[in-house]
């Protein structure tokens, strides 16, 4: 059964130095509040797994929590580069970052294999590309029935999955809708799961076939209204595209980045609405 915990307590308990951590959410429902708490607690040597690192991993990498990244597309969507990710790979700042790179199709198969309890995922992919030359974990396997050569990717089994969802009930059952990405796969593939939510309600009342993560596959549910900002939570608030533009400017220099993180993330946050806090700061910026 999931426990309803304050976010800081849940991160302390569930995320440990050296863990493989998958903060998922495909453009939608990116767990920013939880990522910021991981930064505040100065976790170290994390392997960060995520299809699209987005601003949250840019921030976490720039603040030095990671020693390795597993990903498939590392840009600022619709804007350009992730400058902190690039600085880590190109110039080893703030430290060197090991890279394990896949395609989206490869990553979803690896997550599905993790969730399915299989040793590897299988796909018709990577044929003719240079990715297997730089990622030794992309291998090929021959179909025993047709003889076709297919790609094999080892299962992703994170120590902890971190996701944001729209709502949970007081028992810790979680309802998630809209662009649901690979959150369900990531949670089911992981040893532990931390879920932040927009609201905790008495009755979830999901329609049949809705994407529900039952309380017993979730370790902790944390109330974090606005916790996906500047990404979005369908039904609650829109993606703040202007923030993604602003981040391009903030993240270009190490000094401006560190200054921004110090003021906006490291400073004690208190029980504020995450989105309101950042929206206000953005207007000042």
């Amino acid at each position: 059964m999931a426990r309803i915990l304050p976010l800081a307590d849940a991160v302390t308990e569930l995320v440990h130095d050296g863990d493989q951590v998958a903060c998922e959410g495909f453009t939608h429902l990116i767990p920013f509040a939880a990522g910021h708490e991981i930064i505040r607690q100065e976790k170290k040597n994390l392997t960060l797994v995520r299809m699209t690192p987005d601003l949250i991993y840019d921030q976490m990498i720039g603040m030095g929590v990671a020693s390795k990244i597993v990903f498939s597309w590392g840009g600022n969507p619709g804007v350009g580069s992730l400058h902190r990710l690039r600085d880590a790979i190109e110039r080893q700042w703030p430290s060197s970052l090991a890279v394990e790179e896949l395609s989206h199709a490869g990553m979803v198969q690896a997550y599905m294999a993790g969730a399915a309890g299989l040793p590897f995922g299988i796909l018709r992919g990577f044929t003719g590309t240079d990715l297997p030359k730089v990622n030794a974990r992309i291998k090929s396997i021959t179909c025993p029935f047709t003889g076709e050569s297919l790609a094999a990717i080892p299962a992703i089994r994170p120590d902890v999955a971190v996701i944001h969802a729209q709502k949970a009930d007081r028992l810790g059952n979680v309802l998630i809708w809209g662009i649901i990405g690979v959150q369900k796969e990531a949670v089911l593939a992981s040893k532990r799961a931390l879920v932040t939510v927009e609201e905790i309600v008495d009755r979830l009342e999901p329609p049949p076939n809705a994407c529900v993560l039952p309380s017993w596959v979730v370790s902790a549910v944390c109330l974090a209204p606005g916790g996906a900002y500047p990404s979005y939570a369908q039904g609650y608030y829109d993606r703040d595209n202007r923030f993604y533009q602003l981040w391009d400017k903030v993240s270009r220099s190490r000094e401006e980045f560190l200054h921004w993180m110090k003021i906006n993330v490291l400073a004690p946050s208190g029980p504020v609405n995450f989105r309101e806090k950042f929206s206000n700061l953005e207007r000042v910026a």
Binding site: F26, S72, G78, L85, M112, G125, T129, R242
Partner: protein, 257 residues
């Protein structure tokens, strides 16, 4: 009506899409062209985005691949795992529509690194959905601006395969999709030669000089013997495109690429 180089690129790319086709759309230029097609000659074009929306009909261009409007206007939204596994790999996609950072003479694409992989000069975003879109879609259209930096003799990294080393390369290595059928740029349209599969300039946009295309290509470019001039965008195409861009700018506070 006068048009810009970017506008004729987008209009030419949109014209490639037949009404009713099922199109797996990359973000940016491909998404803009695909939505222009949907709003002009191809109202029944089915747009699929890798974030999960199937049959998306956005009124403004998405800034990200997973904007909420893609989901709320779609016929259905499935998980990212399902999109790649059932819909793309399962062979349901007629057209893959991609952008690129760099392309070579066989329409292979690099979106990974400039320079050495382990010590890159420029780290690009990486593969995303492109390798399997390029491999599995029925055919592939690629849209990008043509410069010496983008049209290169040799790619530093092959992220997504076009026609590989040319000829029957795709068949030999077992790719099921047909591969790139056209590359649409701000200067013209290139198509693979029927047998060698080397990109050949088949259309040149009005007002563009052949020497200009040659100068913006990093290899010795072949020209079709019956090189055609691209028909200029119609006033309707331009009006719909500009309207779409204006709505997008208002919605996002920026001009989506």
């Amino acid at each position: 009506m006068d048009h810009s180089a970017d506008e004729i690129m987008t209009v030419s790319a949109a014209r490639m899409l037949r009404n009713g086709a099922v199109c797996f759309v990359g973000i940016g230029l491909p998404s803009k062209a695909a939505n222009l097609a949907r709003l002009t000659h191809a109202p029944d074009l089915v747009l699929i985005y890798e974030s999960g929306p199937i049959g998306a009909k956005p009124s403004v261009l998405p800034l990200s691949i997973g904007d909420g409007e893609l989901c709320t206007t779609a016929d259905t939204t499935v998980s990212t795992a399902e999109i790649f596994t059932f819909w793309l790999q399962g062979g349901k996609i007629d057209v893959g529509f991609l952008g690129a950072a760099q392309i070579d003479r066989f329409a292979n694409i690099n979106t990974t690194v400039i320079g050495d992989y382990d010590r890159p000069t420029v780290r690009l975003p990486g593969a995303g959905g492109a390798p399997e879109i390029a491999g599995s879609a029925g055919e592939v259209f690629i849209v990008l601006r043509q410069t010496q930096k983008t049209f290169v003799d040799r790619l530093d990294f092959v992220t997504s395969v076009g026609h590989g080393e040319g000829g029957d390369y795709r068949k030999r290595i077992g790719l099921l999709g047909g591969g790139p059928a056209a590359v649409i740029t701000d200067l013209g349209i290139l198509r693979p030669h029927p047998t060698s599969k080397e990109l050949t300039l088949t259309n040149i946009h009005p007002g563009v000089a052949i020497d200009q295309v040659r100068a913006m290509t990093g290899w010795s470019l072949s020209f079709s013997s019956n090189l055609e001039i691209t028909p200029a965008p119609t006033s309707e195409e331009l009006a719909v495109l500009r309207d779409l861009e204006q709505r997008t700018a208002t919605a996002h506070g920026v001009t989506a690429v």
